[in-house]
Amino acid sequence: MEPSLGFVAELFAHAFSYWWLILIATTIGIIIGAMPGFGSANTIIMLLPFTLAVDVDVAMIFMVSLFCASQSGGGITSILLNIPGNGGSAATCIDGYPMAKKGLGQQALVLSFVASQVGGMVTAGMSIFLLPYMAKLAYYLHSVEMVVIVLFGITLIASIASENMLKGLIAGGLGLLIGAIGADHIYSTPRATFGFLELYDGVPLIPVLIGVFAISEALMMIESRSVLSDEGLEVAKRAGWKETLEGIKWAFQRTWLMIWTAIVGLIIGIVPGAGASIAAFVAYQQARLYSKTPEKFGTGIPEGVIAPESANNGCSSGDLIPLLVIGVPGGTTAAVMMIVMTYHGVQLGPRLFIQSPEIGYGVFVTMLVAYCVMLFTTLPLTRYISRLILIPTAVLAPIIIAFTLVGAFAPRGYMFDLWLTLFFGVIGYLCRRTGYNVVAMLIGVILGPLLEANVMRALRISGGDPWTFFSSPLANILWVLLIISLLIPSLVQWNKNRQAALNPAVENQ
């Protein structure tokens, strides 16, 4: 099943010969990725007449490139406007936007793109050569293990809330409650839907994202003349090519962070049903945990942009592995790709790599080429894209509200979603004004349903036995790591306090 280098080289030559198609697809992908409410899945569905009409290899090059680019594009609005383009880039807001406010928006965009592309390339490359072993991960990561992995992400609520623990935990708890709205995962019994049919499938993520981030941010913007601080405005106005190079330098000074957070994304992506949102939050939480300066996370530091962006792009490869190797799509975009592949008569599953290896491995080679192409197309643009933030808020805020409301309506076509967006906009605004952390709330909304689904499923399989959560060796290892990750910050702090108490001179230095 492992491909020869000659075969991979041939695939590279083939993919590169379609550079112009990759350029078109990645451009579309970045634009739709940056627009909340427009994702790769619905774009690929709209373009099905085209992908069904052309040869399967051409269709796959187009779809895969668009898919990768949409993950990369999500960070643009997260950084510049505090508005995530999709769930996977929500964690990027935490440090990306503070960087932009300091006038470092251009560097943050460069960090986001470099991390996305390096993360994507690393995981695509790993997938080519380690595919059989990676596919095996799906055999070990079941509901019980997923419960612990999701908990890693949820513990981020406590980290984020450290400035004001009570308010942070209240916001996170509220998010978890909002995430519990909708039909239950076993019997489809509606809960807390208040009779609204539109809430039966749960509170839709996009209106919540847009409301809590975009609308509330726009309302906050109106209160000041510019998004940037006075100092930040001066810095941003002076920005030129030097800042792009600086961003690249900052990114490659953290190469190892890009690599390991991408691998976190890849592993989480392999589990069917998990996705970029959880990958990004878990990677952020882990990066903060192992940082020497965890207290700086959330204030606008490069690590806080690199970790989620690298992870959500690492997740792209992971998403496609179950589709190709076992014939089961890991996410919505993969499901739509499956339509195209089966229509063209491609046999998915283990036989794919025997009957059509050029398609199976070609997917990851295309990813590598697409990320490579994006490196050259996106980085020069950061200088110009970052100037978006210089637009006066009196102009920017109404534009944001108008555009994002379209995005809130687009995925499901319900007027209800527009009202829901405005409702969450007001909630988000009130949270910001009163010091409740909106990211903590969003983590609850995104990860709560995933946690509940996996907990309910694990209990159902075990016949309601709570000891099932400690029944697998891998889960037990993850539990230990989770507990360690919860204790480390307190122990480090305790040690610092102790050192300071023992030697006051150390503190003064």
Binding site: N42, S188, D201, I326, G330, T332, G345
Partner: protein, 335 residues
């Protein structure tokens, strides 16, 4: 091995042709005969799933005979309830709005979840396109080689079977099998066919109960143990798995899902001519050789393609509603 047979010019031409096809319906005038506008299809499950694929495959050929193209909208949630509620409550009853669903699972949902619409007063299935059998299969590495192995083990401990959703004919099949043989079965819903199949392949559960066509692409990763029908209509695709009734001597009902087109019931009274046009052109699809090609590409074996008229669909719907009522306490939270 690799061929590069598409140039930039070819790409633009193909893209333009594909987009032109999308634009065709807008040419028709307001006074033209039905249908003069694009048909709007509501799918009560997610995009990319088996129902979506089957709808697209059928409509691709149907568009030729009907003279209009189809646009799709997806309203998944609560085992299909959201889609049906949206269709009945928010879509105009004009025969341009169609719903494409699966009679079996969605009538079980109707009987167990008490939605606000009424069958048959509000909705009417006017034609089914196929009949897909429920099956039980296990992962390729499973120790269970036959349905008898599974039943015998089920007498010693509870067998776990994944399913996309509890209100599903295969769930009723598994529960009826347990009733008839004394085995114990616990159904585990995964909220989608993909995760349900992955759970069985990766060994999280003992097996999977689902429709046959959705599991055919799994090749040696799946071992089919039995079919809930009186005979296996696709033995060569299912490792020659037996009909469960024949293998075990049981008298379980036939649990085949029919994917069918539906309209608002009032359309049949207000626009009988439109319904007639839909029905007559729909029948032509089954004789079109192109349909065989696209249906098989969409993953449905030709043996399962089978037209059923409105009366047959209604009979099937009522049969499933009755079966669901029998097993309601096991399929829903209400006891």
């Amino acid at each position: 091995m690799l061929k590069k047979d598409m140039t930039r010019r070819g790409f633009v031409a193909t893209g333009a042709a594909a987009l032109a096809v999308l634009g065709v319906p807008r040419v028709a005038g307001a006074q033209a005969a039905f249908p003069s506008e694009t048909m709007q299809v509501l799918i009560p499950t997610g995009e990319g799933g088996g129902v979506d694929q089957a709808a697209r495959a059928f409509a691709r050929v149907w568009a030729k005979h009907l003279g209009q193209n189809f646009e799709y909208a997806y309203f998944p949630g609560a085992s299909g309830q959201v889609g049906y509620e949206v269709f009945v409550g928010k879509r105009e009853p004009n025969a341009y709005n169609l719903l494409f669903g699966n009679i079996g699972p969605e009538m079980i949902m109707y009987a167990t979840q008490n939605p606000s619409y009424k069958y048959p007063d509000d909705i009417m299935y006017f034609g089914a396109i196929d009949s897909d059998d429920s099956v039980i299969w296990v992962g390729g590495n499973s120790k269970f080689k036959t349905i008898n192995d599974l039943v015998e083990e089920g007498k010693k401990r509870e067998i776990t079977l994944s399913t996309s959703r509890l209100p599903h004919p295969s769930t009723i099949g598994a529960l009826a099998l347990a009733d008839a043989t004394g085995m114990k079965v616990r159904m585990v819903p995964y909220g989608g066919g993909g995760p349900a199949r992955a759970a069985a392949i990766t060994g999280e559960v003992d097996g999977c109960a689902t429709f046959l066509s959705s599991s055919l692409g799994l090749a040696e990763q799946a071992r089919f143990l039995g079919v809930f029908n009186n005979e296996n209509r696709a033995p060569e695709l299912t490792n020659n798995a037996p009909a469960i009734n024949k293998a075990l001597g049981t008298k379980l009902p036939v649990l085949s899902g029919q994917r069918a087109w539906a309209i608002h019931r009032s359309v049949a009274e207000k626009f009988p001519d439109r319904l007639e046009k839909l029905t007559s052109t729909m029948k032509q699809v089954f004789d079109d050789p192109e349909y065989k090609e696209v249906a098989e590409k969409a993953g449905t074996p030709w043996e399962f393609i089978q037209y059923a008229d409105a009366a047959a669909c209604d009979a099937s719907a009522k049969e499933f509603a009755a079966l669901a009522a029998q097993y309601k306490s096991l399929l829903s939270a209400s006891k």
